[in-house]
Subunit: 144 residues, 12 copies
């Protein structure tokens, strides 16, 4: 089982930001935890960080061509206006699950990408990632 | 560990509805699956169905008095205007996690209750329940 | 042929209200007239008054289980925000016809329940009830 | 008893339209059914088709001068912006009842002419005409 | 002189809420203070707590039948959409005065029930109750 | 000096309308008064009544071809949506002055045709016509 | 016959402004023309310039006490938000006629003061003043 | 205890207005009643009438410098847009209580000054003043 | 191949308008050019000018009955509110292509008739006609 | 004659998308057809695919520097918010023509880039490209 | 070089306000600093404090008559609705530069006066004044 | 002291644009002037031009890592929707000052990036750059 995780704009700065809305875990620490999770749940995980929406689109098309089974993304800075990435995720076959560290509904933010998502997980800090990955495994296991 | 699950307006008719947006599982079948999940994950689960918002409010206050650790709800018919239930969930201490069978963002619906939620799970059909319950266990295990 | 008529919030006070927008016929007088109509047109009519939206929902589900053929309602106080009742009426099989004493379009009011209605009759005072019941009989006679 | 029925823009094409929102009955077939109804209920019915709002206004003033007792109309293509016809119907004495084949509230359309209507009948297909005509007879019988 | 005070949704939890927008006085303590006030100002006071809008409507009709002279309410959770309760308060004769602990205009909240109120008192914490009761006595003393 | 006065939809019924917003002067009486005014102020006046926006447009083009010096109109029923007539009046050379019997700003109505007007006179009952005609004479006398 | 003309904010700079929307006539020249008009039409005219809305209100109350017969105003800079002056003009007895140099509907500006006006004259440059004064004379002559 | 009462735009005309929304009590009569109230409740009251928002601001700063304990205002004509006065009342220390003769919520008016108010009293006619003054005494007695 | 071209309100004045948004070609010159184009591309073209929306509707139904293959229209003055013509074009079978001389998107205008169009050509001056006719020929040639 | 065609976000996936709104022609097949068209109509065509708005901007500046005569673009995923690309197209000299496969007006989408376009072609599937290219040739031939 | 600085409503209370959004510098201290700046940069500075918009308008006209070279203003309490002052600043010749202590865009406030400003400086606390004055000197030095 | 200046989308074309809203200075000439300014005011300045928002984000993170003291940007084409760049500037420590050549408030444009700015300078043409740089030096000198 091969999964792609797209880390949207600014997530490279995780853990080093001013204020503490987003917690102290850095991007590097998160990656380590995600890799461990992939190991114990026995799946392939590619993590892709980018600050350019177009690069994310290119990556999605490449991964689909390479046979990825599911796509997850934390849109972060792309949340507000990544219409092109949204269209891209609607055009391709593998299911897409969206992740947010905070409960964006509570902060009165609307994700334009949600329109392409099978499901959404939001508000659990970095646990949102693990909950979303396990949800994706549930979804894919049903397809087999 | 004691959890309360509030099933909002119209969920009693699950599985018997016209159309197939909400799947074929009936409320009774869902309850059986939820009870099994509680057993294997070793927690107490009370499931409360109601079509009256005021009854849901009464139930939340009773459960909190009785020492409930976490509250989950699928607002269903309450999604659109349960402001009083929202206030109630904000006033009490235990964390609240919100569940939706469908991805309501995709259907352009906004839950007024989301403002009171720690986190939200939406779009995975009845799997939304199990994902939310496991997320609640993750949240509560950190508090201890 | 079995029909259910739901009388929404505040209709119990019919005929005793201040002002004269709604006429002088009381709820009791209306009930007598409706029962006579049912007798001469040879159908079963249950009239259900309630000020609680949830009770109306419960009643609808009960009646459907008991084999009701058609549902009529004067939403009255429910007109403005009975979203849950609307969903309920959309989920069940029997056709729903909506009744208003006054022409609510003229008074610039929009019924949120209209979305669930097969048809609407409005503006004829208490005659709206009889016109709606005869319309329901026309609709049901075609189904046989 | 003399009644005028105004058939608004595009109703001449009834039954020949693409799609099937409006049923298969043609304008000619409808006219025959309406004439039979007038015969058995013993009233005079003039049916007037037009695609020009101004012609409809002229016809209303002529009919009123000729002593018409009640006016019915299916605005059809005039639904969206016939403000002048609306004012005309408000200025004249005979009651006006509005007819729609479909439940326009459900299709999120608002008739600007409704402001001039005593009552409205919508959603019953061509039965909307017969229900409306019988409602008009009820209204006029009270006046005598 | 007989007065009814309706305590809307969630007021049962007063004094036990998280945060301190609403002060530390509990519902029980407030009731004792209100009873003392009734004693020293020499009037009858019934206090009615409910989380169900329909129960509030029923109570209002009962009290009016039993000859209540004035009605006060802190809508609390009913503030946002109790249209049916609003209509009920408009239909009955006794004057209605609305109470809010906080200045809701400042918090950008609009009470749908205000449309039925003779007057409003807001922003004085639990003193809002005593100011409102004394205002009601002023209003009623003029009627005699 | 040749002037055209367009009388918009429903003005033919002036003086015979229900209610008394528009006064008791009939269209015929108004015409007589206008003709006298033209005589004493020494100008040519053509008065054109129509319930069809398209006829008004045709008339404007004809009059312009025939050398009219100024155009006045009381849009009446055309006030709300005569966009095509507005465009026509913008395309032609002679100045256009708009007339309203009532102060439409006070009634919260906006004339879509005002965009084409040099000036507007509103709120003076039928005096609005005479004030407007004298204003037009002032305007034209400056051009010579 | 005594009339008051209020010249709103910035009208003192008339004729000296940048751009040429408002013409070359200065405030002094306008005053001379207005005085001549008063002489030949035989009425008393007080012209009051102010840049302070409150001063305009004070002046209106004084003039009313002194027996003024009619009030005219060019709101100019007060057009956008002189709600208090509007209320003042609604509270007093003498009729109020509003003047604008330009056609403000065409410039998509709405005068908040129009709600208090019997009638409005707009779009004729400084001729708007003379047309309005003659309209006021017509109005007052009818009252005698 | 020293209190300032600001009487906003047009309140000088109280009791002499057209229509009867605001009662027959004149400003002079109200002042006498207020002075008597101050005497029997043993506090100092300065009443300040003005039609200029800026004068009200100046007065507030002077009074604060002179040691005023509480500020009350009936914004009246200032209700709609006195943003500067609102800011002023937010910048100074003494509490501000807002007064309205009528229930402005019912008339669909929103006071921009409410954002600066500790509490509001509205709808009790001139009794609103006395209720507000007694409410202020309650508030100030707690501070000591 | 038979085509119908509907020329909407005001197009008869083409080339004689004030300003130069629409170019100097007159309606007559345009017709000659269109006829030449029909000749060289070998198709039948009927050009129909009208200022009445209802006449356009009548013409469309006639042409369809007579076997027209495609319909083109420059809505011009009908652009803003020809809802009835739009419905008519949706009801009939032949494809409809919409033409505009200017780029209406750039002028912030939305055509209500676009909803019925297979495709649109806008912004090329009178070349828009020839581009649209050639596009129609491409579309129809595929159907054969 | 040198032309640039910008293919916006996601157009690389043409023909491989889910659903069939966009037809079965792949990007490669389209390119071949376009090259043939360029050959037979005798012009130079550069086709540039990109998922990054900034790359499109860079390409436009380069082409302009290299002497391109006209620019065409199918914005696709850039349709919704490519404000910077829009500004760029407005700053440069060569005319810009916009292309859409579907009638976006019908799908209720507005292109932010249309503001920079001389003209638009939409709704003809891949024929939109050829119609647009021929329209560009017409436009450029006039300039010479 | 002569400059006028208008200090809008409530700026007299600078440094004595509750909270600390606006810093501790008082109006007097600010004036001293500004005078020193004028001395060292060799220009004439008049500082004018007012809480009345109309007084500000009067002052602007006087200063312009007296030959002022540039006008600066911190609108403060006038920010929200000083439309008349805005018009005044647009009518006069000298350039106007707007100053805000805080970044009002960040606080979601829009200055209605900005429409008249050559440029704006906001967000630098009292340094905003010095930056704005030096910017004004730059602007004026170019004109010479 | 090290400063970064980000030049947003399309600024590379400065001085070569059609129209003259933005002046005749080219990007190269501006760079020379900025370098001279840095020299005479003794600070380090890196100027970074890009048409890709993501590249700007990457550059900001790099510069912060390299110890930059302050960040300035002219968003230009990024003004309308660079939400991700805005978040980036909020996450990092060094102050951000925003620059616009024109007064964007006057052109009714709102910068989404302003939310992250300490202060803004707009409307002074290329002088906006020098005013902003000197403002930044003032800000940083206080921190030492």
């Amino acid at each position: 089982m091969k999964l792609l995780l797209v880390q949207g704009a600014n997530l490279n700065s995780l853990g080093n930001r001013q204020g503490n809305t987003y917690g102290a875990t850095t991007a590097e620490q998160l990656d380590t935890l995600l890799k461990q999770h992939a190991l114990s749940f026995n799946y392939d995980l590619e993590i892709f960080y980018t600050n350019l929406e177009g690069e994310a689109i290119n990556k999605v098309y490449e991964s689909v061509e390479a046979g990825v089974d599911g796509i997850l993304a934390n849109p972060a800075g792309f949340t507000y206006n990544a219409y092109a990435l949204r269209d891209c995720l609607k055009y391709v076959k593998p299911p897409y699950i969206e992740i947010h560290l905070t409960n964006i509904d509570q902060r009165n933010i609307r994700s334009v990408m949600s329109e392409a998502a099978l499901g959404m997980i939001q508000g659990f800090g970095i646990d949102s990632y693990f909950i979303a990955l396990e949800a994706m495994l549930k979804v894919l296991s049903k397809k087999v």
